[in-house]
């Protein structure tokens, strides 16, 4: 009769498995490092307290009290006044282009109104795309308004209720009902396209490497470049069809209308696919096995999701994380997606993101092609 548990057999298997693991340091390193990296990313990136929201202001009053109001905003942790606008149109354009999430517009006779006991008006424009940021910006701006009312009101000692001297009027732009779907769904499109393309591309090439067919291909006159293109084109097509599907689902299932130009969105979506396929090709060049390719795809996807601004407002992240985010193509594509879909932004407002994404994508494809060609000889 066989014993249910044989210690020596177990140790033999253990020995063999330890050998397997140590023979494959890449997989081991990924398996060990990934959870830590993710923990760090989540820990830093999830910051539900909204602070330092990039904001613009327009001081139409230029009086003593408007300066005090601006000082109060600057002193707050919630808002960073990073732009000074010179017109209402510019204020709005800054939000459409995604440079700021909040804009303060101090009415022309703010100082005079407050001095004469009438409520001075501060209009607050809030980008409603990201519902959680918008809600907190809403609450924070009204709180600062009340605090200003109390501070500026001179003759209210003893009064139980302070008169409203500063009238803060928040207004939601683009997503007035603050539906989180409007914010998350366009972002999800970018994430899905990236995952699908990297996965398909890398598994296909690495699968050939594993089966030995890659070698067979390389003795044909096809050559590495022909091979790469032959692999890229089908997956680019699949990725583009995916793009159309998810755009359709966004429009008709989630009910998120596309405010801007659809052709522009499609062209820039194709540009993003190029960057994603560049990543896929790079994974193909580096990974020796399909398991490695899968882990590498995972390793690329997590930071993309966490640092690109998909879930978490990038402005709220520590600077190091923001810098890492600049190296991720998805960061720029999300700007573009949300800009076009939610805010109706055109190329004139989005060109910094477009330029960065295309430059990053081109660089990735060139780098990955060289790496791939080298890996095949």
């Amino acid at each position: 009769m066989r014993r249910a548990f044989d210690l020596r057999g177990f140790l033999a298997v253990l020995y063999k498995e330890v050998k397997h693991v140590t023979r494959d340091p890449v997989t081991l390193a990924l398996a060990l490092a990934l959870p830590v990296v993710q923990l760090l990313l989540f820990g830093y990136a999830i910051n539900t307290k909204v602070q330092h929201i990039g904001s613009a202001y327009l001081d139409e009053d230029r009086g003593a009290l408007s300066v005090r109001a601006l000082d109060a905003l600057r002193a707050s942790d919630q808002f960073d006044l990073v732009y000074r606008a010179t017109s209402r149109a510019q204020l709005r354009a800054l939000i459409v282009a995604g440079r700021v999430r909040v804009a303060f517009d101090i009415a022309p006779n703010f100082t005079a109104d407050v001095r004469s006991g009438r409520p001075g008006e501060i209009q607050v424009l809030i980008d409603g795309s990201d519902s959680s940021v918008a809600q907190q910006a809403f609450a924070a701006s009204t709180a600062i308004g009340s605090a200003l009312s109390a501070a500026l009101g001179p003759g209210t000692r003893g009064a139980s209720v302070a008169p409203t001297l500063v009238d803060v009027r928040p207004r939601m732009l683009f997503n007035p009902s603050l539906r989180s779907a409007n914010f998350l769904v366009p972002g999800l499109i970018g994430v899905i396209m990236q995952v699908i393309t990297i996965f398909l591309m890398s598994l296909s090439i690495v699968g050939e490497r594993e089966r030995g067919t890659l070698e067979q291909l390389l003795v044909t006159p096809i050559g590495p470049l022909g091979l790469m293109l032959g692999k890229i084109v089908p997956y680019a097509c699949i990725g583009f069809v995916d793009f159309l599907f998810v755009l359709g689902a966004m429009r008709w299932i989630f009910g998120v209308p596309i405010a801007g130009s659809l052709p522009l969105l499609l062209v820039l979506g194709a540009g993003f696919l190029m960057a994603a396929l560049g990543l896929g090709l790079w994974v193909s060049a580096v990974a020796r096995t399909q398991v490695q390719a899968m882990l590498m795809t995972f390793a690329l996807t997590m930071p993309s999701i966490l640092l690109s601004g998909f879930f978490f407002e990038r402005d709220l992240m520590p600077p190091v994380m923001q810098w890492v985010g600049y190296l991720i193509p998805l960061t720029y594509f999300l700007e573009i997606l949300r800009g076009i879909v939610l805010r109706g932004a055109g190329i004139s407002a989005l060109w910094p993101s477009v330029t960065a994404m295309m430059a990053l994508g081109t660089g990735l494809v060139i780098f990955a092609s060289i790496r791939f060609a080298r890996s095949t000889s």
């Binding site: 089966r211 067919t213 070698e215 067979q216 003795v219 044909t220 006159p221 096809i222």
Partner: protein, 315 residues
Amino acid sequence: MSGAAAIVTEGLTKRYGAHTVVRDLSFAVERGSIFGFLGPNGSGKSTTIKMLCGLVRPSGGAGSVNGFDVEREGERVRRAIGYMSQSFSLYGDLTVDENLEFYGRAYALDPARRERRKGEVGALTGIAGFSRQPAATLSGGWKQRLALACALLHEPRVLFLDEPTAGIDPVARRDLWDLLYRLAEGGVTLFVTTHYMDEAERCSRVGYIYDGELIALGSLDELRRLPGVEPSGTVRYRVETEEVMAAFAAARPLPYVRDATIFGRELHVIVAGEVTPERLRADLGGEAAGIGEPVPSDASLEDVFVALTRGRAPK
């Protein structure tokens, strides 16, 4: 380089870092011949093939295939050669016909020629009858025939076969070799690696590579006469016996025995020329111990390689 030879190497060398995998390889393979390239695993056989196919860049020396330099004219080399690797390297999810179609396109054959060649290689290898079957469902021998068919589509002048018969049954092996002979008759040069001695003996010439160095090169007869194989003044005997291990143990200490090797139920012994078969039989234990009569014999290819490898091993 020589116009008559299909493959020529001159001091071909491959180094990976400090490790030399192939050292100073020089040989020539005649057109329309079958060249057997032999050697233990890890001796540099596959690396040599990869250099000749333009997959691996040589670190030194030169090689040419069908008159094209493997380093500078990789593209033309690839068009002139067919390559069949030891592992089944076709697409299991594609049908036989789709695999052929793919390789036809890979070699940029125009549609008319593609169709014609698919018919020709299909008939030659007999794979045509399976054209709509997924390649993964073929048996080992048929998979190799399909691989050969794919490698032949573009009418290569030189065919590299890396252990083409590894893991297939003896009947399929024989059929495949019959095919290879027909190709050679048609003027195709074949460069074959194998571990099977009977296959090596079918080759026009063989080269034996050991630890990256070509230590023997020639026809079977030439190799048999190498000094390391048949030292002068010695005779090789085959001795049949039930108890090979006992006979082997008895042979090793005998002062006149130069070498002894077991082959199944036979002992191959090289002895000094003056020793008679009768004396050898008696010293091994005699008829009583089940020792058969020693028969003088030629060295088999296996004897040659055992002798050459032994001569090299303690360096």
